[in-house]
């Protein structure tokens, strides 16, 4: 497998500021390289900075200090909404613990929404959304609303939504956290399948059971990487 570096973080810091202007450091100098097609699990205690790191990689947060190279380009200083929205829309696909689907929209419309933001024509985006839903086994649920679907089904709709613009990177925050174990396994099956499509997957989880599907497990504590190991089954 080609070992092209997809994401590179150098000495990344992130702090929050409380109402009284007190600084709360969350990430304290993260150095990280993630190659194209890797499946990375980020683990660690609550408050260790897992989700913040994911949000920084996903361009939802600006960094306080450091460098963020995305396919070789430093985007750590980019603050322009148009560019950031473009990256989130085309390069990344987000998957959340609570699915975060739009309750008023059908499964099909939910999946097609990022393609709408990308400016795709209705015919194209709905055809693509339908194909994704059919492939994932929800061909008979196209016009159901999220409230009419089970948790596992909703997460699969959310996965389709993440894939509609064919992103290189999938970012998942506790994707199995709200699911029963069977649905959780299904989701992990889909995630391991991303490898064949050469998609990079970065997943935050606190469950070892789930993390073992990844090629590589990174532990964070107090905003620092305390261990970073490839698993035996990985090809790296």
């Amino acid at each position: 497998m080609e070992n092209k570096i997809e994401i590179k973080l150098e000495n990344v810091h992130k702090s929050y500021y409380l109402a009284n202007k007190e600084e709360v450091p969350v990430l304290n100098g993260i150095d990280l390289e993630i190659k194209r097609g890797e499946f990375v699990a980020i683990m660690g205690e609550s408050g260790g900075g897992k989700t913040t790191l994911l949000n920084i990689i996903g361009c939802l947060h600006p960094l306080s200090r450091g460098m963020y190279y995305l396919t070789g380009e430093n985007i750590g200083n980019v603050r322009d909404d148009f560019t950031l929205a473009f990256i989130r829309n085309k390069k990344m696909g987000f998957i959340f613990q609570q699915f975060n689907l739009f309750t008023r929209l059908s499964a099909l419309k939910n999946v097609a929404l990022p393609a709408l933001y990308a400016g795709k024509e209705k015919e194209e985006r709905e055809r693509k959304a339908k194909k994704l839903l059919e492939d994932i086994g929800l061909g008979d649920r196209l016009y159901h609303r999220p409230t009419e679907l089970s948790g596992g089904q909703q997460q699969r709709v959310a996965i389709c939504r993440a894939l509609i613009n064919d992103p290189d990177i999938i970012l998942a925050d506790e994707p199995t956290g709200a699911l029963d174990s069977k649905s959780g396994l299904e989701v992990m099956d889909i995630f391991t399948g991303f490898k064949k499509q050469e998609r990079t997957v970065i997943m935050v989880t606190h469950t070892a059971e789930v993390a073992k599907y990844a090629d590589r497990i990174i532990y964070l504590r107090d905003g620092k990487v305390i261990s970073d190991n490839y698993q035996l089954h990985s090809n790296y």
């Binding site: 939802l60 987000f94 959340f96 975060n100 209705k122």
Partner: protein, 399 residues
């Protein structure tokens, strides 16, 4: 893309039906007020025009001044008309009338009607035509004869069962008066006098026997040309002051108005009413706009999480701004359209009460519609802007 966003905006508005309807209510009331304002304004204008239709631009009115900062008694009399006609060089025609109200009865029917005592030229100048009987004669005028001609409406009032009024003897202010003629319907009014509901008598009789000091005198003078109205006005003022033996220091004991300034004054008051009503409509629209802004803020707050999701999956600030802006514009525009429909429907209903004249106009609905769109854009912008600038992570975290 836009169609899809409009569809989504409609869907989210429909999801909160009662709230949407309530926030539209202000706009509905505001826009229907705008429609009504224009209808009333237009109607008032038309009423003014109709009222003065019978007046040519050459017309100058002279009216008695009753207790208005001047000596309480006025010497203005119907007879002054003849003097003006004889002495004035720029006066082509002059007629006079004394007008007052008197109780008029026939058999068991009785009514308070306007009594107009006039000279004979008055009928000509007022375009009054007989439908039955005859006019008052020169002899009857000089003899103070108790004869009268009825206006069309007065005839209907006094003879409700269609009896023949000719030759009938009616009682006016306790005096027995014979009806000799009936005028055709005129429709409009002659200055302040309602012609159709009036009883016409020789001015001599009206002044001495019926009205006494209770009548107000009005002279109707025609200048010899439109350009000479000012000259004629000056002339008649001088003649009347001389006739009434007014000293230098004394003010006129009569009022002079030419048709132009009378129409102007009436139009001015119609305009003033329009301005006041427009102000009310503007305030209503402002308040409704604030209402919409309020609702949009609540909506944005409720959908903070949605905004976070939209941003995470690649929604740009512009996408979110247009989403919320469209919702407020749809609210206000739909409200505006309903307002136009209600306003237009109300025009014939209000008109049917006969309290005022309303005329529908194109300007009203057009203005109402554009205002409602504007209100939506103006008051929707700030909440939509706030929504588009939310921090995606904070928004995602909210529940």
């Amino acid at each position: 893309m836009l169609i899809e966003i409009i569809k989504m905006a409609f869907e989210s508005l429909l999801a909160k039906k009662i709230r949407s309807i309530l926030s539209m209510l202000g706009i509905i009331i505001g826009v229907s007020t705008v429609i009504a304002v224009f209808a009333i304004g237009q109607g008032a204008q038309q009423a003014v025009n109709a009222q003065f239709e019978g007046l040519s631009a050459k017309t100058i009115m002279v009216m008695s001044m009753r207790g208005r900062g001047s000596t309480s008694s006025t010497k203005l009399a119907v007879g002054d008309a003849k003097i003006l006609k004889d002495k004035g060089q720029h006066i082509e025609l002059a007629t006079g009338a004394i007008q007052g109200n008197a109780s008029v009865s026939y058999g068991s029917t009785s009514a308070s009607l306007s009594v107009i005592g006039s000279d004979l030229d008055y009928y000509k100048i007022s375009n009054l035509e007989l439908s039955a009987g005859r006019l008052i004669t020169e002899d009857e005028l000089s003899n103070n004869d108790k004869v009268a001609i009825l206006g069309n409406g007065a005839t209907e009032t006094l003879f409700p069962e269609g009896q023949n009024p000719l030759g009938a003897v009616v009682t006016i202010a306790g005096k027995k008066v014979e009806i000799v003629g009936v005028f055709k319907e005129v429709g409009s009014s002659m200055g302040p006098m309602r012609v159709d509901d009036s009883v016409f008598m020789p001015y001599t009789t009206a002044q001495k026997t019926i009205l006494g000091n209770g009548g107000s005198v009005m002279l109707n003078i025609q200048a010899d040309s439109v350009d000479n109205v000012e000259l004629a006005t000056e002339e008649l003022t001088n003649i009347l002051r001389e006739e009434h033996k007014l000293k230098e220091s004394q003010e006129n004991d009569f009022r002079v108005m030419d048709a132009g300034s009378m129409v102007g004054a009436a139009q001015e008051s119609a305009q003033l009413m329009s301005i006041l009503l427009t102000l009310i409509a503007a305030i209503t629209l402002l308040v409704s706009g604030i209402g919409i802004m309020n609702v949009m803020f609540v909506t944005v707050a409720e959908r903070t999480k949605e905004i976070g999701i939209a941003k995470a999956i690649g929604g740009k600030q512009g996408d979110i701004l247009s989403q919320f802006l469209l919702e407020s514009v749809i609210l206000s525009t739909v409200g505006g359209i309903i307002g136009i429909i209600i306003g237009q429907a109300a025009i014939p209903i209000i008109s049917s009460f006969n309290l005022m004249t309303l005329a529908s106009s194109v300007t009203g609905p057009l203005l109402g519609f554009s205002f409602s769109v504007l209100v939506g854009v103006f008051f929707g912008f700030y909440p939509a802007f706030k929504a588009s600038r939310l921090d995606p992570v904070d928004a995602l975290r909210s529940e």
